[in-house]
């Protein structure tokens, strides 16, 4: 990867650091998730129960988006939310506490890993396919109405791009010229269904034409290309020119959820070789942006932050069963 990015060395280091932080996080969650589910995998057991959708391999998307967002910008994510949450600056400790179902969690343990809400970062996610897109429109609407140049980014999977909400959201955002950037993570799979069995066109970028907005596809899971594409789309949105659609061809390194044996998956063999992190490390080292020793330092720093978050989560109190009905409505809850 020659440095044709036009990025500063610092920006490139930041992109790599973010990718490493995310991977470190997902590896730690993987470890904690499986730590206490045996003998025999029991999905409901352990400190981190329930479905777990991890994002290893998709870090370039998150890092490329996160680099462009600032205070006040909004982001909506999917059932696979950790990478974009981290890149958007969601509090790592409280996010982790939520994944552990604790009182200090973002949702006081009520939400869980698919339902992370951080109003400080205007971050949310949804477990329902494509249904995170419409609320992003509303955040963009509110940002514009408040007179800011804030943007909302809506992330979704390539499988989700065949859901009705995708179409409605793109049309409405285009029609009202809302400052939204739609990012489709094409990891080739919607659970066990390959893209070829779900999507009638090779590139979702082609679907931008259906709304009269720019559409680009980034191949090869290349973080700098994502960075460039998102940068252009965010600038366009901030300038009041309306939404854009970006599809990134990325890689699901692990199962759809933890416990997924992936028997359906012929492409797994070559997958490790396509891991975007070693590739990017090699490129940056080759370009003299950093040394292997720098990378090791980044990894150590990431591990420290992640383990701190996990320790915080584990130390946080478990919610009291007596409070199970609290928070259905706002009554009695200070604003």
């Amino acid at each position: 990867m020659a440095d044709t990015s036009g990025l500063t060395a610092q920006s490139r280091r930041d992109l790599l650091s973010m990718m490493i932080l995310i991977r470190t996080y997902e590896e730690a969650i993987l470890r904690e998730y499986h730590a206490d589910k045996s003998p025999g995998f029991d999905i409901g057991a352990g400190l981190v129960p329930g479905e777990m959708h991890l994002s290893a391999g998709q870090e370039p998307v998150a890092a490329g988006i996160g680099a462009h967002l600032r205070e006040g910008d909004a982001l909506t994510a999917t059932h696979r939310p950790h990478h974009v949450a981290i890149a958007h600056g969601v509090d790592l400790r409280r996010m982790t506490a939520e994944i552990f179902g604790r009182e200090d969690g973002l949702g006081r343990g009520r939400g869980g890993h698919m339902h992370l809400f951080d109003p400080d970062r205007h971050f949310s996610c949804s477990g329902i396919i494509a249904e995170g897109l419409p609320p992003a429109l509303g955040q963009a609407f509110a940002l514009r109405r408040a007179g800011t140049d804030g943007v909302a980014v809506a992330v979704t999977g390539e499988g989700a791009a065949n859901q009705g909400a995708f179409h409605e959201s793109l049309n409405l955002a285009a029609l009202w010229k809302l400052p939204v950037v739609f990012v489709v993570e094409d990891n080739d799979w919607g659970i066990s269904v390959p893209r070829s069995a779900s999507t009638s066109v090779p590139s979702n970028a082609a679907r931008a034409a259906a709304y009269g907005i720019p559409g680009v596809r980034v191949e090869d899971n290349a973080v700098e290309a994502v960075h460039a594409a998102v940068g252009a789309a965010v600038a366009r949105a901030r300038a009041g020119e309306g939404p854009s659609l970006i599809e990134v061809h990325t890689l699901r390194l692990w199962g759809h959820f933890e416990g997924d044996a992936q028997g359906y998956r012929p492409d797994l063999e070559g997958a490790p070789g396509r891991d975007p992190i070693p590739t990017y490390v090699a490129a940056l080292v080759a370009d003299g942006v950093l040394t292997e020793a720098d990378v090791a330092l980044i990894r150590t720093g990431a591990a420290e932050r992640v383990e701190d978050a996990i320790a915080f989560a584990k130390a946080s109190p478990v919610p009291s069963p007596d409070d199970a009905l609290k928070y259905v409505f706002t009554e009695g809850i200070p604003a």
Partner: protein, 351 residues
């Protein structure tokens, strides 16, 4: 600029001599307009809410007063625009979103029940969704199985949203005011037949006295629409009118019917129901929604789980689990008509 008139909880809403009368539709749009005047975060969105003024006139005049930035016609994309409302509410705006017919919930229910209703809980109370979703309900004018449903039972069953169902102009204004001011998502369901529309058969009660100033009718409080001692009718929306008509008629024969207008389904005013049946011992639940697994069952269960012996008679007058038929003769055979209500009350007192 706001008053809460509490005494309407137990008194019929009767126009006092010389007081201003409005149709329910006008009462709704006035409530919205006043809240839009008071709070610039309030805005209105939906299909044909702008120049058309809402298919059932709930937003008439708002575009002229507030302009297209605050009164927005949308594409026929309910998932997108209801979701937009949710995102806007999360950011502190106060959207009033119209779903034209409640029957269309099937194209957008995920945003409603999995998002609008659950975000506050899932966020542990950290994110509020102060939004009103309003929709027209009900039949009686041969609009067929996909445009005549009440469906409030479906919304009331799913947690996280308040559900209000006004029957008259006074409550319509007060409940809309309360709904817009509420920090919780509120589903506001108005029956077309209570709106007082010029182009639909209407009960005289769909036009009534409405104070000029803003006021709230508290969400979660039923109203004793008529006091009585022999039988309690628990009902809501257009069926309140029918029940009052029946009560008036039977009063002449010395049958004393108490009519409870629920006004809210969530929260449900279980105390008011129990209080009434303690007096009468006989309960007739009247509902234009489908009978089974809905409002009627809940009302009855609410009573007997608290006081199993209190009822000597209980019956239901609802739509008997059939899609709403088109032909008038068939539709009126399944709607909770005054004739069916009257028969049920007579049967109740005969025992």
């Amino acid at each position: 600029m706001s008053i809460t008139i509490e005494n309407t909880d137990t008194l019929p809403v009767e126009p006092e001599p010389g007081r201003r009368k409005l149709s329910t539709a006008k009462a709704v749009s006035e409530a919205i307009a006043q809240q839009m005047q008071q709070d610039e975060n309030v805005f209105v969105m939906g299909e044909d809410v702008g120049s058309y003024g809402g298919i059932f006139s709930a937003t008439t005049g708002l575009l002229d007063e507030f302009g297209p930035d605050r009164v927005l016609d949308t594409p026929i994309s309910e998932t997108a625009f209801i979701g937009l409302g949710i995102g806007a509410a999360v950011e502190g705006l106060r959207p009033v979103v119209e779903l034209m017919f409640v029957d269309f919930f099937g194209v957008c229910m995920d945003q409603i029940y999995n998002h609008m209703a659950k975000i506050h809980y899932e966020s542990g109370g950290n994110v509020r969704v102060p939004m009103v979703l309003m929709a027209a309900t009900g039949g009686g004018y041969s609009d067929g199985a996909q445009h005549s449903q009440s469906l409030w039972g479906t919304f009331a069953h799913l947690p996280g949203m308040k559900v209000v169902v006004p029957s008259n102009p006074y409550d319509a204004k007060g409940l809309m005011t309360a709904a817009i001011r509420s920090d919780d998502p509120v589903v506001y369901l108005f029956h077309k037949g209570v709106m007082g529309l010029g182009w639909m058969k209407k009960n005289p009660r769909s036009i009534g006295a409405v104070p000029t100033e803003a006021y709230e009718v508290p969400i979660g409080k039923a109203r004793v629409a008529r006091e009585g001692t022999d039988v309690t009718i628990v009902t809501l929306s257009l069926s309140v009118h029918h029940s009052l008509d029946v009560a008036e008629k039977l009063a002449e024969e010395g049958i004393s019917v108490e009519v409870i207008d629920l006004r809210s389904l969530v929260p449900l005013d279980r105390d008011a129901i129990l209080e009434s049946v303690r007096k009468t011992g006989r309960l007739v639940v009247v509902d234009e929604d489908y009978q089974s697994f809905g409002v009627t069952g809940e009302v009855i269960a609410s009573v007997v789980e608290r006081e199993p012996g209190v009822l000597t008679h209980v019956s239901r007058v609802a739509v008997p689990d059939v899609p709403l038929p088109y032909a008038r003769e068939l539709e009126y055979a399944v709607l909770p008509t005054p004739a069916r209500i009257e028969a049920a009350v007579r049967e109740a007192v005969a025992k």
